[in-house]
């Protein structure tokens, strides 16, 4: 049984900021009073499971405007960036973000084990007690980062 407890704290904030800046040259900051429409049909999402030391799922949910901006920043030089390319970029983004976060959060612990990212477009359901939600913003456009505990089933 592990005593590790993950929550969307300042280490998560730092990982979000570092990952967006490093991959997409975007300033992403926590927006404590921000309001984000998690269920919009125009969202893009990427999720990944942490399997060890604690089982949780993390999901990054971007509105279309930010998703396209990030996709262009990473892949724009290579040609037209469509939904498929945006989803690929988001998969790599959450992989990087979660890795950076866990490395900070679990310093000195056994190396964590994470799954392979999944991505999609459209409505993302964040209802339920098992979710911890955080809102961030790039240029005042909000986006979401969610943690779902395994007990949610």
């Amino acid at each position: 049984m592990t005593n590790v407890h993950l929550s969307l704290d300042e280490n998560a904030d730092a990982a979000v900021t570092e990952s967006f800046e490093g991959m997409a040259f975007a300033d992403a900051l926590r927006s404590p009073d921000g309001d984000f429409e998690w269920g919009s049909a125009k969202n893009f999402w990427a999720r990944i499971r942490i399997e060890r030391p604690v089982e949780v799922e993390l999901c990054l949910v971007l509105p279309e405007a930010i998703a396209r901006e990030v996709g262009d920043a990473v892949m724009g030089e290579l040609g037209e960036v469509g939904d498929e390319e945006i989803r690929s970029v988001m998969g790599e983004l959450i992989n990087t973000l979660v890795g950076v976060w866990l490395t900070r959060q679990l310093a000195g612990e056994e190396p964590p084990q994470i799954g392979i990212p999944e991505t999609g477009c459209g409505e993302w359901n964040a209802d339920g007690d098992a979710f911890e939600l955080a809102v961030y913003a790039i240029d005042e456009i909000p986006f979401g980062f969610a943690l779902r505990r395994a007990s949610a089933g």
Binding site: E18, S19, E21, G22, M23, V74, M75, E77, L78, E85, S88, V89, G91, E92, N95, T96, L97, V98, G99, V100, L102, T103, L106, A107, G108, E109, E110, P111, P112, I114, I116, P117
Partner: protein
């Protein structure tokens, strides 16, 4: 012409690493790509390369297993391997170094971080 094998299940990650190396002057280099460790080993069975750059977290065969297999192979053991991952703490870094990784780059990747990595390579591998 020098050749580099980029191993990552994310095409985006492979593209970012290639762009960083091109910025560093590795534009006259043949880049080959594999989506996971097993595919990389199949490629390396057919031909050798001057450098392997690999992610850790991949399906089929992860980067640690790939590194172990390369260093255990008499044919491949001299091939330098740079590991690129966001998920590397001190313990993992020690493990990778002990297995023979030439350098470990922490994601997000940047030209500066890749420059440190390639400068660590033996002189004959430099472009």
């Amino acid at each position: 012409m020098k050749s580099v094998l980029l191993v990552d299940d994310s095409a985006v990650a492979r593209t970012i690493i290639r762009k960083c190396l091109e910025i560093l002057g590795w534009d006259e280099v043949s880049f080959f790509e594999a989506g996971h460790g097993r595919e990389a080993l199949e490629f390396l069975r057919e031909r050798t390369v001057d450098l392997v750059v690999t992610d850790l977290n991949m399906p089929e065969m992860d980067g640690t297993a790939l590194l172990r297999r390369i260093k255990a192979s008499p044919k491949l053991t001299e091939t330098p391997v740079i590991v690129v991952s966001s998920l590397v703490n001190d313990e993992k870094q020690r493990e990778l170094t002990a297995l023979g990784a030439a350098w470990v780059v922490h994601k997000p990747v940047s030209p500066t971080k890749m420059a440190e990595a390639v400068e660590s390579l033996p002189a004959e591998e430099a472009v």
